[in-house]
């Protein structure tokens, strides 16, 4: 018996619609997150992640509706991240139907938020989302960024993972801002460094282009592998990735 490496498609959702490069041929409506969630579920996705990029708080209620509808129709774990600022935001997302909630900027600004959320809902609901890039300014060689990777948060990414682990996160979503969108492969050194820094599961994100990239990231210590565009554009299917992982000796569902 052993735990399977998870393969997770990520959907950017803005005001209830999936945005940013979705090119599914077999969908009636490529912008409908519920329909896309269903397709990925049928293809064997192990979890789903929605990243809520809705800027206006008025439109956030639409996101809750989407989360609710998805949770009622798709029976695999659903993580929702983006714009989570407080334990009450977490409560609303969990009530809407999310199983896990991603926290990023708000935890950087106020690390106690991690302990507050973990205390109230258990650490298993809390995914620390870290947007990191290479930087010679930090001891580990990796720094945390904000604003979609444009701004440095002035913190060591690996040290942050360590601190957040102590505060009670349940999982880390490590996104390489250097690799993101390149399809040149995950940042394997960053994955290996984060793996050393935490005892919670690690989701690798950013740079997936080929099935080999997924295998490399799993070899580097990732427990789960997240990607967006390669799945949305049909470059790879979930099945392709799992076949490759299986062939290279990893356990998959």
């Amino acid at each position: 018996m052993s735990l399977a490496v998870r393969v997770i498609p990520c959907l950017d959702v803005d005001a209830g619609r999936v945005v940013k490069g979705v090119n599914f041929v077999d969908l009636r409506d490529a912008g409908d997150p519920v329909e896309m969630a269903r397709v990925y579920d049928a293809e064997g996705a192990d979890e789903l992640t929605f990243l809520d990029i809705t800027a206006s708080s008025d439109e956030r209620s639409t996101t809750y509706d989407v989360v609710g509808t998805t949770a009622e129709q798709v029976f695999i774990p659903l993580t929702v991240g983006g714009g989570v600022r407080s334990a009450d935001d977490v409560d609303r997302l969990l009530r809407a139907g999310a199983d896990k909630v991603g926290v990023n900027t708000a935890a950087l600004a106020r690390p106690e938020l991690i302990a507050e959320i973990a205390h109230r809902f258990g650490n298993q609901v809390l995914v620390l989302s870290v947007d990191a890039r290479r930087s010679s300014d930090q001891p580990s060689g990796f720094e945390v960024t904000t604003h979609g990777g444009r701004r440095s948060a002035g913190q060591d990414a690996i040290a942050w993972v360590r601190v957040a682990t102590d505060l009670g996160i349940g999982e880390v979503l490590l996104n390489s801002m250097d690799a993101d969108g390149t399809r040149d492969g995950f940042d394997l050194e960053m994955i290996a460094a984060a793996r050393q820094a935490t005892h919670v599961p690690l989701i690798a994100s950013g740079g997936a282009g080929t099935t080999e990239h997924f295998c490399d990231a799993a070899d580097a210590g990732a427990d789960a592998l997240l990607a967006a565009s390669v799945f949305h554009f049909g470059v790879l299917t979930i099945g392709d990735v799992k076949d490759a992982l299986r062939t290279s000796g990893h356990t998959v569902r």
């Binding site: 018996m1 029976f75 809902f121």
Partner: protein, 213 residues
């Protein structure tokens, strides 16, 4: 039951995401009510006790709706109860978290302890070893189920003498640590994993349970 379907109450005591649990049990063929009401939980054909988060917090929540009493009375009358995740853990005698021992419902002997693996929580899809005669795992014993937990039960000490049926225990293993994945003991069943989040395999397991009501 006007619909002809068995009725199931999912016990609402302020714990986690219950929306998908409601839908998953509905899909399994039951008429589902989400409530913390004592009488409703006592009267229904099947009671689901969910649970996420900490053992102590769950026990406190459960006590606030007299859930312990509901479970005890139902079992005394041979009426089915299904615990899920921490809803399984609280059925045991005690839970130990951060060195603090909390009393559980005590329906089963045993202690819920922290898992000893390099990576905790145990999060994701794992296989199980189910007894051949299991009702819950009929047709899905070889499937993977979705786990997310940091604590588990390593020993099963309940031995039931005939003519009562022996308890059936399903085990899983994570990084060399072996613990209870599910147990079926007369009217009381429970899973450490989340059937409502375990895709088709979980749906089949819930159907097996609902069919047994």
């Amino acid at each position: 039951m006007s619909s002809g379907k068995p009725g199931v109450v999912i016990l609402d005591y302020g714990s986690g995401n219950l929306r998908s649990a409601v839908r998953a049990v509905e899909r399994a063929g039951a008429e589902v009510t989400l409530t913390g009401d004592f009488d409703a939980a006592l009267d229904t054909d099947g009671l689901v006790v969910p649970g996420v988060g900490a053992f102590a917090a769950c026990m406190a929540g459960l006590r606030s709706v007299r859930g312990e009493q509901v479970i005890g009375r139902r079992l005394a009358g041979g009426r089915p109860v299904l615990g899920i995740c921490v809803g399984m853990q609280i059925l045991f005698e005690t839970g130990i978290e951060h060195g603090v021992t909390t009393e559980g419902c005590g329906e089963w002997p045993g202690t819920v302890e922290r898992l000893e693996a390099p990576i905790v929580p145990h999060m994701g899809w794992n296989t199980v070893a189910a007894p051949e005669k299991s009702t819950l795992f009929e047709g899905v014993g070889d499937e993977r189920f979705y786990f997310v937990h940091s604590y588990g039960v390593r020993r099963w000490d309940l031995d039931v003498q005939p003519p009562l049926p022996s308890p059936m225990v399903t085990w899983t293993e994570y990084e060399g640590d072996r613990f209870v994945a599910a147990a079926e003991n007369g009217p009381l069943s429970a899973t450490q994993f989340h059937p409502e989040k375990s895709g088709d395999a979980g749906a089949a397991l819930l159907r097996n349970w609902v069919r047994s009501l």
